[in-house]
Symmetry: C2
DNA sequence: CACCAATCTTGATCTCAATCAAGGTCCTCC
DNA sequence: GGAGGACCTTGATTGAGATCAAGATTGGTG
């Protein structure tokens, strides 16, 4: 876990901080955030924190993918969070990691030391408000995920995961997801299984089935293309009309 | 959904507002909250809001139990939240309910109209901070629940639910859970099934099994007594040492 | 290029919980 | 007290996904 040199980037160069922490880019406390931040990178497979580790920083994801997971006594593990670029990591007011945090690809994070960040939060209300909004969004995502874990079939779970990744991927670049979409799966079959509460064999079988039936196409093991996003959505079991809450 | 007359109660009489909204009881904005609040009651089985309904208030639970749940197209439903006394309901900044909210017992809520509450939140930072804390706690609970849904066996799910209710029940009255505990199950077998991602038959069978083996005793269908809380915890599959995050 | 390890696929079998079905208990209301 | 309905239990059977077990594909390395 090496630290990267402290760099100053202005707002245009730092969409992360803008999206994740600073709801109003022109706010004066930005300068303080700017001075406080530093970068860290982690390599693929590296553990960023174990449950119970002391964490002296909070951070936003700049690039790469990390996962939060929990484990039972006997080793069964369940992923409980997926950190993609612009997501926030760490809990103000808690010194200790509640989950295992693992980089699944190379990861760069924009970090803020916990103490000064918390003080800043106390003195500048809209940072707390922004964090509240983000936390509420995470809670919504967690609840959607609970519906998936509790009530969806293996096939629906796979389709849902593909749709989530495709949608998230598209939202960072293009607009509304529809028609043909392509993306790289950022997760191994095993990580997908941990996400979905399945075994890796079942994941493999269901992915093969969706491929066989033409719902998706595969180039290599990881590059997915979806000829028709709506067709994929049909497989998720979700309400067709509703879509994401705003 | 009838409104109850607007009552003034002082801080000692209103543990809910104190616990849920006002982290520091002596804060001056309390008076504003006090003036703004009103009570509503719902009868057992009544739907408080359907997904998509406009909700013009936020509220804290005073008494009773309510559930948040989500449903797939074909009717499969999963509970995604359980509201017990002192819990907060409603999302500042969102007009529309994201989940079906149902009273499972008679429920009394202490409500605040959304607009004035949001304005108060904007002007008094520590309300936002308190809400952030509560939301982060909910997120932790949701993630624990995800581990349960994704990776626990039916038996472990039942034991976990009983432990959660017992613990929560105890925390409002006595201190640390241990030894003999007694409580009433506030949920039907069907609601338990929706909580745990099981069918009601499986819930019934597993409850019977735990009873047969002496892990719990039943008086009627709903009154549970746990002769030894640690014995019950053994059945949950959780780490024995860790316990709840602080 | 050949080797090795990691990752993924596929097949055979088993198991836990779902499903289908029948009764039982308790409570309320006439 | 008896009828009706909500809620719960238990049994028999089925089925989706787990488990066990080979192999196949991929990519990196000497």
């Amino acid at each position: 876990m090496q630290e990267i040199e402290l760099t100053h980037v202005d707002c245009a160069d730092c969409p992360i901080r803008h999206r994740a922490v600073c709801a109003r880019c022109e706010a004066p406390e930005l300068d303080q955030l700017e001075e406080m931040k530093y970068y860290r990178s982690f390599e693929a497979g590296q553990t960023i924190a174990w449950t119970g580790d002391k964490l002296d920083f909070v951070a936003t994801m700049v690039s790469g993918i990390a996962t939060l997971s929990q484990t039972l006594e006997d080793g069964r593990t369940q992923m409980v969070g997926l950190l993609l670029p612009s997501d926030f990591m760490g809990r103000p007011g808690r010194e200790v990691a509640s989950y295992d945090v693992t980089a699944t690809t190379e990861v760069v994070m924009c970090c803020f030391r916990r103490r000064p960040f918390e003080e800043l939060m106390r003195s500048t209300p809209h940072i707390a408000q922004r964090l509240l909004e983000m936390t509420l969004d995470e809670l919504d995502a967690a609840r959607e995920w609970m519906l998936l874990l509790g009530r969806k079939t293996a096939r629906e779970k796979i389709a849902s995961l593909l749709a989530i990744i495709a949608r998230r991927d598209a939202s960072l670049t293009r607009g509304v997801p529809s028609g043909r979409m392509e993306f790289d799966l950022p997760l191994t079959r095993e990580a997908m299984a941990d996400y979905l509460g399945l075994t890796l064999e079942t994941v493999s079988r269901q992915v093969s089935a969706l491929k066989r039936e033409g719902v998706i196409q595969l180039a290599g093991k990881r590059h997915v293309s979806v000829p028709d996003f709506d067709r994929l959505m049909l497989e998720t079991g979700d309400d067709t009309d509703g879509g994401m809450p705003v």
